[in-house]
């Protein structure tokens, strides 16, 4: 779940998901937000719950003054402060009290994603870097999975082919290149990948040289996937994948990708439409257990080194 204990930036949406002139709902963990753009295009985030009768502000509209208007009784809120600015049919002598407001959140828009500042306290919080190398070709997408969010990243590092679709490329989940490496809360692992065969005929021989390396590094909500050609070690495509819990049963996954425009095969890295259970059945949980600290595969090496 999304923590409320400490201050942190949480990625909640792709920039392209929040058009001008329209409030957009975002569910993150068990919290609801409404996002919309101000007069200068700045993205604003408020709690998606009218202070009056708890209706969803995101079902309302954006007024000409860039206030979000509740669909139920028309209370209007400022995106900057969350203050209730107008209530229909009040007399001119009825001034709205200052405590009539909804919670407003600081936002940051960079690298094609929108992040909002969550959590209590005044501790420093650094926004996430979500940039991608510029390779001349870009794509993005988002998808809901009926799959627990807390299993999404572990599954991605154990069995990437169950969640990722690489155009023209087959990921070999059973062929990791080396052990995973854990650095703080992040884990990195590499898998072999080959060009998809066009026929169903089995290969005449087991290929010893794999054409590609898929590198995956993952943290709690964010993963980077990068595909390198082994022949020239050139980066072919990369993708940044964000997974956030959406309510109790869904995981919302957003991704942006960048790929070589000049390559003969234009490769994209995207999420599948749904989790493919077949490779999961064949996979093990070696990588994720290493990440969780229940396995220490380098213990012998460390012992001999020490």
């Amino acid at each position: 779940m999304i923590s409320n204990e400490f201050r942190h930036w949480q990625t909640v949406a792709l920039s392209s998901e929040v058009p001008a002139g329209k409030p957009v709902p975002v569910v993150c963990g068990d919290r609801d937000f409404v996002l919309f753009r101000d007069s200068d295009g700045t993205c604003r985030a408020l709690a998606d719950r009218c202070a009056h009768r708890r209706a969803r502000l995101s079902d309302g509209r954006l007024t000409a003054q860039y206030l979000v208007e509740c669909p139920y009784h028309g209370w209007r809120y400022s995106g900057e402060s969350g203050a209730c600015i107008a209530i229909p049919n009040l007399r001119s002598d009825e001034k709205i009290p200052k405590n009539y407001r909804v919670q407003a959140f600081e936002t940051l828009e960079r690298d094609g994603f929108i992040q909002i500042l969550l959590g209590a306290g005044n501790g420093a919080a650094a926004p996430r870097r979500l940039d991608l190398p510029d390779m001349g070709r870009e794509w993005q997408g988002e998808q809901y999975f009926a799959y627990p969010e807390e299993l999404f990243m572990p599954t991605l590092v154990d069995c990437p082919s169950s969640l990722l679709a690489l155009s023209g490329i087959e990921i070999l989940d059973d062929h990791p290149f080396g052990n995973p490496t854990v650095n703080g809360d992040e884990i990195a692992i590499e898998y072999a990948a080959v060009k998809k065969r066009r026929t169903r005929r089995p290969p005449k021989h087991v290929p010893q040289d794999y054409a590609y390396t898929l590198q995956i590094s993952a943290s709690r909500f964010t993963a980077r996937a990068a595909l390198y050609a082994n022949g020239d070690t050139q980066l072919q495509a990369a993708a940044l994948i964000i997974a956030v819990p959406s309510g109790q049963r869904l995981t919302r996954v957003m991704w942006r990708g960048s790929g070589r425009a000049d390559a003969e095969t234009q490769i994209t890295i995207e999420c599948r439409n749904q989790v493919n259970p077949v490779p999961i059945r064949a996979s093990n949980t070696f990588v994720s257990r290493t990440w969780a600290g229940t396995l220490t595969p380098l213990a012998g090496e460390a012992a001999s080194g020490g």
Partner: protein
């Protein structure tokens, strides 16, 4: 009406300790109009009140309600809700079948309100009746109904928008009922009145009445427009469960001489219900099963807030084992006086 008559302060904040927790207590000892009379035939139908199952069927001219199917052998425990043989008190009146949810020995027919726009022994024509469902607790449905300012935004096409020259809310109440009276002046004519009824005047004055029965959820609505006709509505708002409210509705179509309008207006009921559902459904999970939290209010919410208070009083009385009706019951049941409409006779 000798009931409490009040207007409200401009702004108020409900206390987080006010214990407004819809769906946590089943008020009992009330008649619930669970079915339109023509729906009940020889084959039993099933209805629920506060999750209690009622099998209802006809045998000749007699109507029955029981906790078991008539062809089944009764196996459940005997409770004071039935007569000892699993039979509930049941009455057919005003084109509805009313079942009693509560102590069977305390059921009295006079607790059914006097409905001036329905015939006591005859059902309304089928085009004037229907049913909608709201996926929320009936307390939230009633609060929605008592809150007539939401119609400006949720039902603006049918009832007009919010830009009135003058807009005042009053409420009246008894120990069992809450009435909301909204008086507007210089209110824009609704698109429906303009396009369907041919109303030419751009503005109108209106007085709208909403009257709810706290225990059963039954409500009555009627408006008086300076430029257009109106038809009274009865809606059952039966709490089938904490998350589902059955709204059997019937229009008093005889109250207007405009035959086209009497035929057309009932057709809007399902559209208007969908509009209400669009706000009630998401609202539900933010109240039902949640710890009490403060709500911010204005004077326009006075009737709804008073409903919360009256509801709480009834809950406290019933928690103490007092299910009785107080002497003011008659004042809340005289609908001709409350809605200011003529009797159908």
């Amino acid at each position: 009406m000798a009931a409490q008559i009040e207007s409200a302060a401009s702004f108020s904040e409900t206390s987080p300790n006010s214990e407004w927790r819809p769906g946590t207590f089943a008020l009992q000892d009330a008649w619930f109009p669970v079915a339109h009379s023509p729906k009940v035939r020889k084959e039993p139908i099933i209805r629920f009140v506060h999750s209690r199952r009622f099998h209802i069927w006809r045998e000749g001219s007699k109507i029955h309600a029981a906790d078991h199917h008539p062809s089944a052998t009764r196996t459940g425990p005997i409770t004071h809700f039935t007569d000892g043989q699993g039979r509930y008190p049941v009455i057919e009146r005003y084109g509805h079948v009313w079942v009693w949810y509560g102590g069977a020995d305390r059921a009295k027919p006079e607790y059914i309100p006097d409905i001036p726009f329905l015939h006591p022994d005859r059902a309304q024509p089928s085009y004037a009746c229907g049913v909608n469902f709201f996926h929320t607790s009936y307390e939230l449905v009633l609060e929605n109904i008592l809150d007539l300012t939401h119609i400006d935004f949720v039902h603006g096409k049918y009832a007009g928008t919010s830009e009135s020259k003058e807009d005042n809310i009053r409420y009246e109440s008894t120990s069992e009922t809450v009435t909301m009276i909204r008086t507007t002046r210089g209110r824009p004519t609704a698109a429906y009145q303009r396009d369907v009824l041919g109303v030419k005047e751009p503005f109108q004055d209106a007085t709208a009445f909403t009257h709810v029965f706290i225990r059963s959820g039954v409500c009555f609505l009627h408006s008086h427009y300076s430029t257009a006709p109106s038809i009274p509505l009865m809606q059952s708002n039966t709490p089938e469960s904490v998350a589902l409210t059955r709204a059997n509705y019937v229009f008093g179509v005889q109250q207007t001489d405009n035959v086209g309008y009497a035929r057309a207006w009932p057709k809007t009921a399902s559209i208007i219900a969908q509009q209400d559902e669009s706000v009630l459904n998401p609202q539900s999970s933010r109240y039902v099963g949640q710890p009490p939290k403060p709500d911010l209010s204005t004077r326009f919410d006075a009737a709804g807030l008073h409903y919360r208070s009256r509801h709480r009083s009834l809950v406290e009385r019933q928690k103490r084992g007092d299910f009785s009706y107080l002497p003011d019951i008659a004042e809340g049941s005289d609908l001709a006086e409350i809605l200011k409409i003529k009797r159908l006779r």
